[in-house]
């Protein structure tokens, strides 16, 4: 498998949210605006890249029997780092994401990459894999956030689109939880219909 395809696998072909349907809880909960979705995506990307990197470096020294606790320890360390950093430098985003930042620890996308890829492959490949997976997750959340914020709040990144009239009475339902399910369902349906899966 070429380096490029390692990177694009997680980005598009095996996109965590739209194709593998994992990490759905944060995807549904934090995609109500573009900023939240993008921020959450980047936080998860940071964690998956760093944990893939470290696990790949240590892969020959990690005893097979205790690999899962060690993966979790490493992942939760990076999650805590991003948690502190966000609190210090992005307090508003941190408040908006709330409990979903610490919950990145249990995002199965991250542990999945550690177990399936980083614990077996070279350091560079693991970083590329983490980057692809993380950015794929970010892409999915940003797309959902864009659709939901524009329709549900009449804004994009806080800027008004479609004029004031629409902003004052948008499709509120889209930024609430049912809107998240609707958007992901429609996107998944479109992807299944138009994107051919290379099996």
């Amino acid at each position: 498998m070429s380096r490029l395809s390692i990177f694009t696998r997680g980005l598009i072909k095996d996109n965590a949210v739209f194709v593998l349907m994992i990490g759905l809880c944060p995807a549904l909960a934090t995609s109500s605006t573009v900023r939240d979705g993008f921020g959450m995506g980047l936080a998860a990307t940071f964690v998956v890249v760093c944990s893939n990197l470290l696990i790949s470096i240590l892969r020959k020294n990690i005893p097979n029997e205790v690999r899962i606790p060690i993966f979790i320890l490493i992942i939760s360390t990076f999650v805590t780092i991003i948690d502190y950093m966000m609190q210090a430098f992005q307090p508003e985003l941190y408040r908006a994401l709330g409990v979903f930042v610490p919950l990145i620890v249990v995002n199965c996308m991250i542990l999945g990459r550690a177990e399936a890829f980083a614990s077996k492959r070279s350091v560079l490949d693991s970083v590329l894999d983490g980057l692809g997976t993380g950015l794929g997750f970010t892409l999915a959340l940003t797309i959902m956030g864009t659709i939901r914020e524009i329709l549900g709040n009449g804004t994009f990144l806080g800027m008004t689109v479609f004029g004031e009239a629409f902003k004052n009475s948008p499709v509120i339902f889209m930024i609430m939880s049912p809107g998240a399910f609707l958007v992901i369902g429609i996107l998944k349906a479109l992807i299944n219909k138009y994107v051919k899966k290379e099996l």
Binding site: S32, L58, N61, I62, P63, N64, E65, V66, P69, I70, L73, I74, S76, T77, T80, I81, Y84, M85, Q87, A88, F89, P91, E92, R95, A96, G152, N153, P170, I172, I175, M176
Partner: protein
């Protein structure tokens, strides 16, 4: 097959390394986190009342607003009334006359749980500006005889804000020093001469001393109870007022009740069953205050 010892050692090393790394990250970010938090709180306060400095009275709840010459210009407090989907964080500024200088409802990003587009409209200036200049007595929705226009289809949230602000003023308004008016417990007096700063006054009319007014604090059920008592030369209580209390809603709250407070005028009342701790605390506070200051009325 790895030996148990090797597993333990590897796990131990990884765990210790993680802990050490995290302690460094914590030490690096902690001051910054505290600073951002303080900044956020402060900017929230500045929006409702302009002052040079905000002196903390109750952490995260009550501040005294002070101007550059050190004069009190009012207070700022935060209340969290129950809205439609959760508590609504509101910051309220009060000037020295007990008039609202501004209110601010936290946005969704700061923890507001009200429905976006409906209840969440209570954050908008169109709604919050209406409170400016009002006193506790004016704060009521149109439906309840007041003049605050509720948000259409969000009456619950609107009402929660109004009642939260009103309760907040009643609770913290007494912390405005000029409104700690001894007249409310000693109506007959013309003026008051301070004997002990912020604690004891002589009630005076013409050249006669009519009695005393004192302020006391006792430990209530949930929080300290701060009260003011008027006591005349005939050794009769002229009035009792609660300056601060935060007792259980519907139970200990009875101590704020006019009916209960009036009972003090005809001698020390019995504790109210169901609210024994709060009422007893107040009764004991009043009795020990009388004991302490009785020499001033002899």
């Amino acid at each position: 097959m790895t030996s148990i010892r090797q597993m333990i050692i590897t796990l131990f090393i990884v765990a210790v390394t993680c802990a050490v790394v995290l302690s460094f990250v914590y030490a690096f970010t902690e001051p910054r986190i505290a600073e951002t938090q303080a900044q956020l709180t402060l900017s929230g306060l500045e929006e409702v009342i302009t002052a040079y400095e905000y002196k903390k009275i109750i952490p995260d709840t009550l501040w005294q607003a002070v101007d550059s010459s050190g004069e009190n210009v009012g207070v700022v407090f935060r209340v969290f009334p129950q809205g439609y989907a959760g508590p609504i964080p509101i910051t309220v500024g009060l000037d020295n006359n007990g008039k609202i200088t501004g209110i601010r409802v936290a946005s969704a990003a700061e923890g507001l749980a009200e429905t976006p587009g409906l209840g969440a409209k209570i954050t908008q200036p169109g709604f919050t500006e209406q409170f400016k200049g009002m006193t506790a007595a004016d704060v009521a929705l149109e439906q309840e005889g007041g003049s605050i226009e509720a948000i259409t289809a969000a009456t619950i949230s609107s009402r929660a804000v109004a009642s939260g602000v009103k309760k907040g003023i009643e609770m913290y308004g007494a912390c405005l020093i000029p409104s700690c008016d001894p007249h409310m417990v000693f109506a007959e007096a013309e003026r008051f001469v301070e004997v002990i700063k912020d604690t004891l006054w002589k009630a005076v009319r013409g050249a006669d001393t009519l009695g005393i007014v004192f302020v006391g604090v006792v430990e209530g059920y949930l929080d300290d109870i701060k009260f003011m008592v008027g006591y005349n030369m005939e050794k009769i209580i002229t009035g009792v007022a609660i300056l601060h209390s935060q007792e259980t809603e519907g139970i200990g709250e009875v101590i704020r009740d006019g009916e209960f407070l009036d009972k003090f005028r005809s001698g020390i009342p019995e504790a109210v069953s169901g609210a024994t701790i709060s009422t007893k605390a107040l009764i004991n506070g009043v009795t020990s205050g009388l004991e302490r200051f009785k020499e001033y009325v002899e």
